[in-house]
């Protein structure tokens, strides 16, 4: 691949990632937000994280872009989730999840 083009893509990605992070803090910091908007913003993390996670563990993209049900990821998620909740741990589901997925593929090769 053309590395110069990739560099320009990365610079573009930087611009569109940095501005949405920076502008709200510059424009809003210290201002009193409308209570309804503030209450809505408090729910954003609880919304955005599952919106990414659930499709990620339920659906797998095949070689041609077609979607398959991902049983292994779902089972591993169902094991990791209660354990992560019990120990309030960010790293436990990462490490345990990878071990279980690796083990699942070893014992049940597709």
């Amino acid at each position: 691949m053309d590395q110069t083009l990739i560099l320009w893509i990365i610079i573009g990605m930087w611009a569109v990632s940095f501005l949405p992070r920076m502008l709200p803090l510059q424009l809003l910091s210290g201002r009193q937000l409308h209570p309804l908007f503030a209450a809505w913003l408090k729910l954003v993390p609880a919304a955005v994280l599952p919106a990414i996670l659930v499709p990620l563990v339920l659906l797998e993209k095949g070689a041609g872009g077609e979607l398959h049900f991902n049983a292994l990821f779902l089972i591993v998620t169902l094991i990791c989730f209660p354990l992560a909740a019990k120990y309030k741990s960010l790293s436990l589901p990462v490490v345990l999840g990878m071990v279980l997925v690796a083990a699942g593929r070893w014992f049940f090769p597709a």
Partner: protein, 233 residues
């Protein structure tokens, strides 16, 4: 407040300690990104540069996948914009707590807003005005570990023929499980999360693979707010 503020040095150490669980997940997830990016034909310098400048887990994974699939520059940049637009909402939700920050420090802080640093900083949002050094230390340590993980992945890429037998492709999902567990701590948030998960999956399956995150987020948070208002009625 009557309590004495921790010294700057103490705050930096506190930030380092609080970033530890993030480091434990950023190293393997960053490593996986590095392996995949290198395999997609991106040079090691560009792999590292993307982690330094863009610093967004899912955004970088999606971009690498698109580049490997031969997508054009504009499509990759536009998708990155949409996928990372959620940081706008995160920055806005931290802003009321950061009135006493100078503009240059706000720029430094905002460059490192991710799902993970946001989760950690919003958990102690009331202290953000008093503990600037702690928040910056947490952010910069987390970012450094992300870059390190990516660099290690790019270097080790030649040794790893396929990430699947190692379970590396689950790393990102594992990190999100940990984040949800930290964030979802009330009935309204549980209902919001369920709504977002279902909606995100349906939209993704319907082919809205660039916009499903932002649409599901906005709709589910609005739904959650409706539930909250209805309960308090």
């Amino acid at each position: 407040m009557t309590n004495v503020l921790p010294s700057t040095g103490r705050q930096i150490i506190n930030g380092l300690q609080r970033s530890f669980p993030i480091i434990l997940s950023y190293i393997p997830v960053g490593f996986t990104y590095g392996v995949l990016a290198h395999k997609a034909g991106i040079s090691d310098i560009n792999v590292i540069l993307m982690s330094m400048l863009v610093f967004a887990g899912s955004g970088q994974f999606i971009a690498v996948g698109m580049m490997a699939g031969g997508a054009g520059a504009l499509a990759v940049i536009l998708t990155t914009f949409v996928v990372n637009l959620r940081h706008l909402l995160m920055a806005a939700s931290l802003s009321p707590w950061m009135a006493q920050w100078s503009r240059p420090l706000l720029v430094l802080f905002s460059a490192d807003i991710t799902d993970e640093t946001f989760a950690m900083n919003s958990a102690k949002a009331v202290e953000l005005n008093d503990c600037k050094a702690e928040a910056l230390s947490l952010n910069i340590t987390a970012h450094s570990s992300w870059v390190l993980g990516g660099a290690l992945g790019a270097l080790a890429s030649g040794l790893i023929s396929d990430v699947r037998p190692l379970g590396l492709d689950f790393a990102l999902a594992g990190m999100f499980i940990g984040l949800i567990v930290l964030q979802v701590d009330s009935t309204v948030k549980v209902l919001t999360a369920i709504c977002a998960g279902i909606l995100g999956t349906v939209l993704y399956a319907c082919g809205l693979q660039e916009f499903y995150i932002i649409i599901a987020t906005v709709v589910a948070a609005t739904f959650g707010l409706g539930v909250e208002l209805w309960i308090k009625r």
